[in-house]
């Protein structure tokens, strides 16, 4: 196991401390520790969604479902209105001697539009809330961090967290039994 006090990646402004863990258990422990220490601007990075990490970090439920509901509703009402206006109001024509507007015939498209807009909201919403795409991220400058998609787990405490203090935070993280600790620095302008 290498020396925790690794050289910082880059020499720019310090953006935060990155602690590396080998498995799920220490990660969860670390999360609880950081959470209990009352940090707000921090996160943990894992190769896959780790069961229980949400509770360990105290992440609140996302509002995404509500957005999707609104999206779906828009789709449904929009679809209904569109068909009604186009076929029964703007240019009404007699088709097969049927009523200008009858719901049964409109349902399929209403349904499809509902799904479509919900899905778009879900996808778009996820990206938006997650701030993606975010091609540049100081973390990418860390060689070690490349294993985040492989087999390592990380906790990252941002420097601009009000409680952040290079020394105390470092101690806190070291205490969580990380296999490595690294200062993440931004590129210098």
């Amino acid at each position: 196991m290498g020396d925790p006090r690794t050289a910082a990646a880059g020499s720019g402004r310090l953006v935060g401390l990155l602690a590396e863990y080998e498995s799920v258990d220490p990660l969860l422990a670390a999360c609880r520790a950081v959470r209990d220490a009352g940090y707000a601007r921090w996160d943990s990075m894992t190769p896959f969604p780790v069961h229980g990490v949400d509770r360990a970090m105290g992440i609140r439920r996302t509002i995404l479902p509500k957005l999707v509901f609104v999206g779906g509703l828009t789709g449904a009402l929009g679809g209904l209105a569109m068909q009604w206006w186009m076929n029964a109001v703007d240019y009404p024509v007699v088709i097969s001697g049927k009523p200008l507007f009858s719901l049964p015939a409109q349902i399929p498209i209403i349904f499809e539009l509902t799904i479509l807009l919900s899905a778009l909201t879900a996808f778009g919403g996820m990206l938006a809330l997650n701030g993606l795409p975010r091609l540049y991220n100081p973390l990418f400058r860390s060689v070690r961090f490349q294993r985040v998609t492989n087999d390592r787990f990380y906790v990252f405490v941002e420097a601009d967290d009000p409680r952040f203090d290079a020394e105390r935070t470092r101690k806190l993280l070291e205490a969580t039994g990380c296999v490595a600790l690294e200062e993440i620095r931004d590129v210098e302008e």
Binding site: V93, V94, I95, S96, G97, K98, P99, S102
Partner: protein, 1008 residues
Amino acid sequence: MSERGSGERYWRSLEDLGDDPRFAEIAAREFPSLLPELADPRTRRTFLKLMGASMALAGLTACRWPEERILPFAKRPEGRVPGTPERYATAMELGGVARGLLVTSYDGRPIKIEGNPDHPGSAGATDSIAQAAILELFDPDRSRHPSQRVGGAHERRERADYESHIKGRIAALAGRGRGLAVLGEASSSPSLARMQGRLLRRFPALRWYEYEPVTRDNERLGADIALGAPLRTHLDLSSADVIVAFDADLLTGHPDALRHAREFAARRRADDGAMNRLHAVESAFSVTGAMADHRHAASSAAVAAFAGQLAAFVLGPLGELPRGLAQALARTEGRATAPFVEELADELRAHRGRGVVVAGPGQPPEVHALVHLMNDRLGNVNRTVHYTEDPGPTRPSHEAAIGELAEAIRSGEVETLVILGGNPVFDAPADVDFAGALGRLADSVHLSLYRNETSNACAWHVPRAHFLETWGDARAWDGTISIVQPLIEPLWGGVSPIELLSLLGDGEPAPGHDLVRETARGYLGRGGFESAWASALHDGLVEGSRLPRLPARPDPSRVARRVADWWPPVTPSETAGLEIVFLPDPKLHDGRFANNGWLQELPEPMTKMAWDNALLVGKATADEHGLRSHETAVVSVGEREIEAPVFVMPGQADGSLAIWLGQGRSVCGRVGDGVGADAYRLRTSGAMHRAVGASVRPTGKRHELATTQDHFAIDLLGLEETQRRRPELLREATLGEYREHPDFVRHRAHTPELHELWKPVEYDGYKWGMSIDLTACTGCSACVVACQAENNIPVVGKVEVIKGREMHWIRVDRYFKGEPDAPEVAFQPVTCHHCENAPCEQVCPVAATLHSEEGLNQMVYNRCIGTRYCSNNCPYKVRRFNFWNNQKATTDLEALRHNPEVTVRSRGVMEKCSYCVQRIEAARTLAKREDRRIADGDVTPACAQACPTQAIVFGDLNDRGSRVARAHASQRSYAMLEELKVKPRTRYLAKLRNPATDGGGDEHGGHA
């Protein structure tokens, strides 16, 4: 719908031609681009000519005959308004008989032919051949210039060349004109007769021959035997209760067929509870046979025999049977007399003076003689049968004439031959070898519309003017004279026969107009000639020019003598072999219309076959000789043989083959070349109508025939289902059943109770509808061609028809019933039903087809994207899709025939019957101008207008008094596939039959 760009391009090019912008305006819609054609100077000239003509008629600029006036039809407003069609009365002569026509001209372009309502022959109706004449006029394959044979090939010449040549010949001729001969077609033209007379006076030694391949000479000869003169027989079916036809296709295959059909149908609607009864004894299945209440299939020879037997049974009891005849007819060679003949005789005697016996042109003179005798003794003469003089009573028979001419040529008596029309090299009797004879002739001139087989064999070819391009005159079957007036200047500088004769006679060509007027002075009388001439042009006929009816009594002893010598006819047997009957092509007549796409593609009424002719064989005979439909066979008579595709035709008499003459042209044009088999090669003089001792052997070679309907040729499963559905789709009953159950139509099919799921749309303006009377429909298919002409429907060709891509907006379904050897036939015209709940509409994703306020099922070509879903969902399958750009082959010249009131459809769009909405709109404009509603009869769709029996009625259903409303109210009225609740606006009137053996509603409508 060519896009704007090409429209623009088109514009400039037409302007270059320097034409009347108004004309261009109309024409703009017609053809996408002129540029390619314009590269060709000849076409360019054509157009200048055309425009010239258009402006001539528009009275705008100088024209060919300034002093000549063409008077619009009386019903049209005087004075020309561009963009509004005018109609002119004229006539078309075919086989020496005139059809009275009314031609619609649009800014100088004739675009549509209708029957002349005032004409006794047509009474406003037409047959498919007359309808298709427009196509012929604008056919790009027509001969475009004179030519002279140099060595083997023909070289182009100018008009002056042949004129000077002819002048030269005339000068060179000995004073009496020895060595000069003229071969003419059958013609009843007074002017032609006059020119002929003049010519004969100038050259007494001149020989005049008349030849017509489809000849009715047997009628003349028969009359000659019986009546002592070749009188012409006229039938008055309107007063006939019983009609007996021996191989006689009265309803389509007769010069007076239109009148026959009209009078016949008028007696079958049974509104008064009475119907006439038609018996047909025939070898090949004809339309008349299909309409018959009793049809007996018998070989042509057996038909003759039956005629003889009938004579015996009819005349015997009347004590009118001459001894010689009695003895003769007794010699039936052990042939048992069919029981129906006896019944027939009784029926005829029971209807003395109200019956008609008639024999067809294919029957020998003796049979005709017997028929005359029967009609006379039954008291039918002067009631249902009338006699008049026949034009040209003294001429020899056509068959004899052509033979003599060939002889005269061989013997060198004829040095110069002028052939006026016709195509003897192709259609002369095979044994005459006319081609060979013509080959020996150094000097021969052939006047014809197309460069055909004969043209190539002649020294000179002269383009003939189409009857819509030239002046002339002709007599209808009843003798009424019609003036043939041109609607357009000759496109290719052609001349008419009388003009050529004037050149021949006077050495100077006189304009046809003068010649015809000159003749007219003869029959129009001196007094007030101009006004008489004017009204003759107006009405399209000369009042009171009908041939006078002649009293005539047959001479029984002469008849007896002749019949005795001839009797009994040789019927097919092991020894005699098969019999083959030569029939005129129902569409191409004698073959002269072979290059007419409309006629070629028209499904023949009985076989539903387009684009071919075939050896028609009965089922039994086919099985016996191993013949199969869609395979070829070799027929041989003596040493002559031809190979032709076989079509197994239900109802064709056993032992008797039939084949249509006129197909198999070799020098014809892009359309007609190499289509079908040439039956003339089997036909010899002495056997012009039927040959005996024919043998046939299958080759096993596949030859796909373009049949648009496949009954009796599909798997048993489909066949049975067809038979199950037929009574529901095409409802019929005997007169007895009808009397018993006037509401029988409702019991022919089980229609569930139909409920409204929503509030139905109300139609409180006009409410267009159509009614088709299946009792009246003869299946003649004139409506199909009429629709094609009116609505710019393209011709797609044989291959596409086989694929099932024919474009006709109206089709005539033909259903067989009963046994293949003795089937009953019924016809059912089907076109867009304009359903109020149209199933096609709801499936169209772009609303390209939808309903109008007047309940028309509108098809909007320019909105259509071509999903073909509507066609799938149409239960009547009346929608037609443009699988290709069907206009691609249409030259700009052909495009001139297009009806400018109807969009020419592009590739990839659906199209269908529109109830001729352009005619509705025209009537609407007129009504608005006169500030009134559209009255009943103001709108007549093309199909209804052409229909000889007026089976199709169209009008406003909201107008209780309209004919269509009354028809829909009739007890016979029913909707096809009613159970689908599509609420069709087109309904049918059930078919009635009047069989002698009528149980009278034996079963309760025969639930299907």
